[in-house]
C-alpha cells in the first residue's frame, strides 16, 4: 500500500526546496511545496479508500531499526481508524494552509531575503514529521515524529530570526517542550522495562495484566509529555509566545496539528489509561483547569493572535477533559472540529493582518466588516463554531465532551460550561473589536486578500459550519475505543448552548452596543483586570522560581565554579606546569657552545660514575 509515500512526499518537497529553493522562482517553490502536500493528501485518500473498513490495524513493516537481545524496535507504519482520522486532518488542513501561505507569504522575504523558500521547506519538513508521528506503529517512531515537529515548530517560531522576541519565543517553546519530552522518554523507558517492547499492539495487549501502579506511573509520565506538546498546565506558557511565527504557522502547527499530538498520543494509549483511573483523573483535572484558566486570560488580550492562542490552549484543555473522562472519541472529535475552526480563525486573523499590513492589535482595528467582508463572514463561521452554537461543528464535539464530563463528575461539566461561555465571549469580543464600530487603524486602504487565501478560508468555513454534522468521528471511532454509556441529555445540552449565547450577547453589549461599559468595568475591577491582562503573572512566577535560579545557579556555580575553576583549571594547569618545567629547561639552551660542551662532559662523567657504582660493564 506504500504508506511510506505519505510522509516521503513532503520530505521530498523539503529536500528540493531546502537545497535548491534559493535559485527557484516563487512559482517553482510553490509547485514543490504545495504540490507535495496535496499529493500526500491524495495518497492518504487513496490509501484509506483502498483499506476498506479498517476494523483492524493495517501494518507495514520496513526494517528492523534497533535489535538488542529480545528487544526490537521496528520501523513500522500502521493505519487504523484513529490514524485515518489524524491523517486526513493533518494532510487536509495542511494542504489548505499551504495553499493559503502562497498568498500570505507572497510579499515575505524574511531575513536575508531567503524567507520564502525557507518557510515552505520548514513547513514541508513539519508535514513529514507530523505524518511520521501519526503513522508510527510504536512509541519510538512516534517519538521521532514528536521531536521532529518540535524542531520544525522551533524553526518556524523563530522564522523572523533577526527579531529577538521571535528567537526568544522559539527557544522558550523548545526548552519547555524538552521538559515534556523528558517525561515522555521516562515513560518509554518504563514501558520497555515492564513490557519489553515499544510496539503499540504488544504493549496494549499486555497492559490489561500489568499492575495498576505501573500503568499509573506510565500514564502520568506520558501525560507530562502530552502537557508539554499540547500546552497544558503547567507547561502551556510556550504556546502564546509561539505566535511570533508567521500566521500560517500558528494555524498549522500551533492550532490544528502539532499541539494536538498530545491528545492523539493519550488517546492512542487508551488501553494504558483505562486501567489507570488515577492517571485519567489527573488528565481530566489538568484539562478542565487549563480550559478555564486559559479562557479567562483570553478575555483581556489585545493582540488578535494572542486571543486565539489562549483559545487554543483552552480548547486543548477540553480535548484532555474528553480523554480524561474516558470519552476518547469525543476528544478526537473535538480535535478534528477544532482543527477546522481554529485554523480558520488563525488564517482569518492572518487575512486581517495582511489587510492591515501587519497590524495585530485589536485596538487599532474596528469597522473592518465593510472593508474585508469575505474575511469577516468566514471568520464569523469559525466564531459560531467555537462558541458551540448548534448545528455548527464545535457544538457537536464540545457537547459530547461536556456530557461525558457530567457523567464523570458534574463539577467538571459546570466549569466546562462556564468556560464555553467565556470562550464565546472572548472570540466575539475579538470579532466585534476587529469588525464592528469605527475604524481606528493607521493603514489607509485595508484590502481584501487574494483568492488564493480566500479559497482555503471558504473551504474551512464550510467545514467549520458542517464538519460536525457530516463527519461523525465518534461513530467512526466507536469500535476503536472502549464504549461509553450512551445517553443524550437535552437539558445539559441546552445549558451549554445558552452559555455560549450569553457569552456572545455580553460581548455584543460590551463591545458594540455600549462600548463605554467595557472600559468602566475594567476600571472598577482594576486589580482583576491587571491580573488577567498580565496572564496571572505566570511567566513572571516561572522566571522567579525556575528560570532565574537556573540561570544564576548555572552562572555562579556551573560556569564560574565548575567550568572555569575545575575544567579550565585542569586544562590550563597542565599547560602552565609544562611551561614552568620548560622555563627551567630553557636555561640549558644558552646558545653558548662551551656550556653545551660542559653539559656533555657532565653527562659523560655521570655515566662513568653510574657504571662505576653499578660495577662496570659485563
Amino acid at each position: 500500500m506504500q504508506l511510506w509515500l505519505i510522509p516521503l512526499l513532503p520530505l521530498a518537497g523539503f529536500a528540493i526546496n531546502g537545497l535548491f529553493g534559493r535559485r527557484f522562482s516563487k512559482g517553482l517553490v510553490n509547485v514543490f511545496a504545495v504540490g507535495s502536500v496535496v499529493l500526500s493528501f491524495a495518497w492518504v485518500l487513496k490509501t484509506i479508500l483502498a483499506l476498506g473498513d479498517l476494523n483492524s490495524a493495517y501494518v507495514e513493516h520496513y526494517y528492523t531499526w534497533i535489535q538488542s537481545g529480545t528487544f526490537t524496535v521496528n520501523w513500522d507504519f500502521a493505519v487504523d481508524r484513529l490514524t485515518a482520522v489524524m491523517l486526513l486532518v493533518v494532510t487536509g488542513i495542511g494542504s489548505l494552509i499551504h495553499i493559503y501561505s502562497i498568498g500570505y507569504m507572497a510579499h515575505e522575504h524574511g531575513p536575508n531575503h531567503g524567507g520564502y523558500y525557507r518557510f515552505f521547506a520548514y513547513m514541508n519538513l513539519f508535514m513529514f514529521f507530523m505524518l511520521i508521528l501519526v503513522l508510527g506503529a510504536n512509541f519510538l517512531v512516534l517519538f521521532v515524529g514528536w521531536e521532529g515537529v518540535g524542531l520544525c515548530s522551533y524553526l518556524l517560531i523563530g522564522f523572523y530570526f533577526d527579531k529577538k522576541f521571535a528567537t526568544d519565543a522559539g527557544n522558550k517553546a523548545f526548552i519547555v517542550n524538552r521538559i515534556g519530552d523528558f517525561g515522555f522518554s521516562l515513560a518509554m523507558f518504563y514501558i520497555v522495562k515492564n513490557f519489553g517492547s515499544l510496539d503499540f499492539s504488544t504493549v496494549f495487549s499486555r497492559a490489561a495484566n500489568a499492575p495498576v501502579e505501573v500503568l499509573t506511573l506510565i500514564g502520568l509520565l506520558l501525560m507530562v509529555g502530552a502537557a508539554g506538546k499540547s500546552a497544558q498546565i503547567p507547561l502551556y506558557v510556550w504556546l502564546p509566545d509561539a505566535m511570533a511565527g508567521p500566521t500560517p504557522v500558528s494555524a498549522l502547527i500551533h492550532a490544528a496539528t502539532m499541539v494536538t499530538a498530545g491528545v492523539y498520543m493519550t488517546a492512542r494509549s487508551f488501553p494504558i489509561y483505562t486501567h489507570a483511573p488515577i492517571a485519567m483523573e489527573v488528565i481530566a483535572v489538568i484539562g478542565i483547569a487549563t480550559a478555564f484558566f486559559a479562557a479567562t486570560i483570553g478575555i483581556a488580550q489585545n493582540d488578535i493572535k494572542k486571543v486565539f492562542a489562549y483559545s487554543t490552549v483552552s480548547q486543548l484543555g477540553y480535548m484532555f477533559v474528553g480523554v480524561g473522562v474516558g470519552a476518547f472519541s469525543a476528544g478526537i472529535y473535538h480535535l478534528v472540529t477544532h482543527a477546522f475552526f481554529k485554523a480558520l480563525l488563525f488564517l482569518g486573523s492572518g487575512s486581517v493582518i495582511h489587510a492591515l499590513s501587519g497590524e495585530q492589535d485589536l485596538r487599532n482595528m474596528g469597522g473592518l466588516r465593510s472593508k474585508i467582508p469575505w474575511t469577516f463572514w468566514t471568520m464569523m463561521c469559525a466564531g459560531v463554531a467555537i462558541a458551540g452554537i448548534p448545528p455548527f461543528s464545535g457544538f457537536y464535539s464540545k457537547d459530547e465532551i461536556l456530557l461525558a464530563a457530567y457523567r464523570h463528575a458534574p463539577w467538571m461539566y459546570w466549569l466546562g460550561t462556564v468556560t464555553a461561555g467565556i470562550t464565546a465571549f472572548y472570540v466575539f469580543r475579538a470579532m466585534f473589536l476587529a469588525f464592528f464600530g469605527d475604524y481606528r487603524g493607521h493603514e489607509h486602504h485595508p484590502h481584501e486578500s487574494p483568492p488564493v487565501m480566500m479559497i482555503p478560508l471558504t473551504i474551512l468555513a464550510l467545514l467549520s459550519l458542517g464538519g460536525g454534522y457530516f463527519f461523525k468521528v465518534p461513530h467512526f471511532l466507536s469500535a476503536f475505543f472502549p464504549p461509553l454509556e450512551a445517553g443524550e441529555d437535552s437539558s445539559l445540552m441546552a445549558i451549554s448552548v445558552a452559555a455560549g449565547l450569553v457569552g456572545i450577547l455580553i460581548a455584543y453589549i460590551l463591545y458594540v452596543a455600549k462600548p463605554a461599559v467595557a472600559d468602566s468595568l475594567a476600571g472598577s475591577f482594576k486589580g482583576l483586570y491587571t491580573l488577567i491582562l498580565n496572564k496571572y503573572f505566570v511567566d513572571e512566577v516561572y522566571d522567579a522560581t525556575v528560570v532565574n535560579p537556573v540561570v544564576s545557579g548555572s552562572r555562579a556555580l556551573l560556569w564560574k565554579g565548575v567550568d572555569v575553576e575545575v575544567i579550565d583549571g585542569m586544562a590550563n594547569g597542565v599547560a602552565s606546569r609544562a611551561r614552568d618545567v620548560g622555563g627551567v629547561l630553557r636555561l640549558l639552551q644558552s646558545g653558548n657552545i662551551r656550556s653545551y660542551a660542559a653539559w656533555v662532559l657532565f653527562g659523560s662523567v655521570m655515566v662513568i660514575v653510574a657504571l662505576g657504582v653499578a660495577g662496570g660493564l659485563r
Binding site: G591, N592, R594, A598
Partner: protein, 102 residues
C-alpha cells in the same frame, strides 16, 4: 729491558684527553678549541692502540686509522668553516658565535 706498563699509556691518554677537554671548555679562540678536539681524538687513539697491543688484536689499529681519517676530513671542513666565519664576522671568539640561539 722491561716494558712500559699498560697503565702508563692509559694514564697518558687520560691526561691528554683531560687537557683536550679543558682546552675545549676554557679557551675562547675557535682555532684552539679545534686543536683541543684533535687532542681528544688522538688521546682516544692512544687508548685504542694500547688495548689493541695488549689484546693482540688488530681492531684497535683499524679504529685508530678510521679516527685519523675522520679527523683529517673534519679538519678540512672545520677549517673551511672557521675561515668563512672569520671572513663574515671578523672574530674568532667562540662566545660571539651564537646566532643559532636566536
Amino acid at each position: 729491558m722491561t716494558e712500559v706498563p699498560i697503565s702508563w699509556y692509559l694514564t697518558l691518554s687520560a691526561i691528554l684527553f683531560a687537557l683536550g677537554v679543558a682546552g675545549f671548555l676554557f679557551r675562547r679562540s675557535i682555532i684552539t678549541v679545534f686543536m683541543s678536539i684533535e687532542l681528544m681524538l688522538n688521546a682516544v687513539n692512544l687508548s685504542f692502540i694500547t688495548f689493541s697491543y695488549q689484546l693482540k688484536q688488530v681492531n684497535g689499529h683499524l679504529f685508530a686509522f678510521f679516527v685519523m681519517v675522520v679527523a683529517a676530513a673534519e679538519a678540512a671542513v672545520g677549517l673551511a668553516i672557521i675561515l668563512t666565519i672569520f671572513k663574515n664576522r671578523s672574530t674568532l671568539n667562540i662566545d660571539d658565535i651564537d646566532s643559532m640561539k636566536n
